[in-house]
Amino acid sequence: MIPLILIGPLSVSIITGLLALLISIMDKIVNNYGEVKLDINGGQKVLTVSGGSTLLSTLAEQKIFIPSACGGKGTCGTCKVTVTTDIGPHAATETPLLTGKEIKENVRLSCQVKVKKDLSIQIPEDLFAIRRFKTTVESIVDLTHDIKEVYLKLDDPPEVNFKAGQYAQFIIPPYGKIKESTQRAYSMNSTPQDKNRLGFLIRLVPGGIATTYVHTLLKTGDKLEVIAPVGQFRLHESGAIMLCIAGGSGMAPLHSIIFDLVNRGVTDRQVWYFFGARNKKELFYFERFQELEQKWSNFHFIAALSEPLPDDNWKGDVGLITDVLDSYLKDKIKPDFPKEGYLCGSPGMIDACIRVLKAHDVTDENIFYDKF
């Protein structure tokens, strides 16, 4: 005999259990979308996948990596994909991260769209090349008090093809108080010719999850996974004068672009690189660029210090990078020749530089930038 007192709990458990079973069975029936077809870029690639998950994770399972800085939480708005099949109105989680034009053009956040039926989607061609790499940390070098140069050796796959200026997503594992894996984007500092490894410049951001991890925990020999290559910032093949502007770790994509030109022997283009820093302590790769200036007559390296210390014995340009850029554009750089701006840095610095470039008739479509 069951003790009387147990009849109540047992009955409740049995009722609850039966209802839970019913829900599970319904879930199997209702959430089973079977096999669905994903048509990418109008028949360029047709995938048969099992429905029910988000578009972002479904594509990731098929080794197509849509960039996603927040890891599918619907907060960063980078995983945009055009869905041409009608899948109903945009969700309330999507609209704040899309422009009115994008909503009209059926751009969706792939992390918020569930694959429930056959879908036709449009994604940039470049995304097909994106891979997830297993890597080993080859070297970590201090360049300044808060910038480290990090090289990752590629283990699997062992080679990468990218365009100078693109970036990679670091997958930072959970550590300490951080309970979830985090993804952060860093531009490649190494050149595309260096196929077996990727180099980065990583500045310590106080409180930053990924930069703190790289600066305090990552050691040579550690394993790290990255997703690469991503991004539209790159060299545009024209004859225009290149005006490159970046300070601090923003140098990475420009370093890659400039040395890519050197490696490929494209030395007929005029390149001006403006590097802004506060004092000499924040200057790095200085000798490397000065040497390059000697070898390559069309390359000009302008380092400007805004607050040089007395000990610096600084003989170069002094002032904010915008003022230095302005004075060079007035006096030293051929005024009537077509120019392209390549900028990398904080939004404030980029906006200020764009104003200077526009004042010197460099048009919007010739200004390329990577804000971070």
């Binding site: 009955s11 609850t16 019913l22 829900i23 959430n31």
Partner: protein, 197 residues
Amino acid sequence: MTPDINPIVLFFASVFTSNILLANFLGMCSFIAISKDFKSANGLGLAVIIVLLITSVLNWAVYHLILVPLNLEYLRFIVFIIVIAASVQILEMVIDRISPALYMTLGIFLPLITVNCAILGVVLLLQIRNYSFVQSAVFGLGSGIGWWIAIISLAAIRKKLEKAPIPAGLKGPGITFITIGLMAMAFMGFSGILSVQ
């Protein structure tokens, strides 16, 4: 003792004279929150009808076929709530499948039906009043339809109110509460016709 009420009378009574919202004031929060938009009000109203019908029938069966024979009437709250939660969970999955658009517009209010007091209220009323199976089904359906009529009426009125010259201090919730009060008074006009206890 099962009260001797004709199910048809009970149906009309639960829709009009003892309207769950406007006569008993149960299920107010989603009534006010979702009535801003007619389409979602209609969707939520229909969802409430289905949940009320299902949970009335299921809970009647659970109460009379399991709890009463086992002398476990005192467990009714926990059991009723579990049955309601499971029904809502299943309904949520079905709506997501059939109409993603409705699923999106209902958003958080769909799972919130679980704790909508109109639902538990109806289930407890039919247990307290000792309704028969048919009476319970009819009372559940009628209360659901009553709730639906109340929310779409309010949604329609609020649509008109958008263009009305309302004093600044009364805009939004203020005028909505006054409107609901007037609606409740209008529904009280039905009260002499049928009386159901």
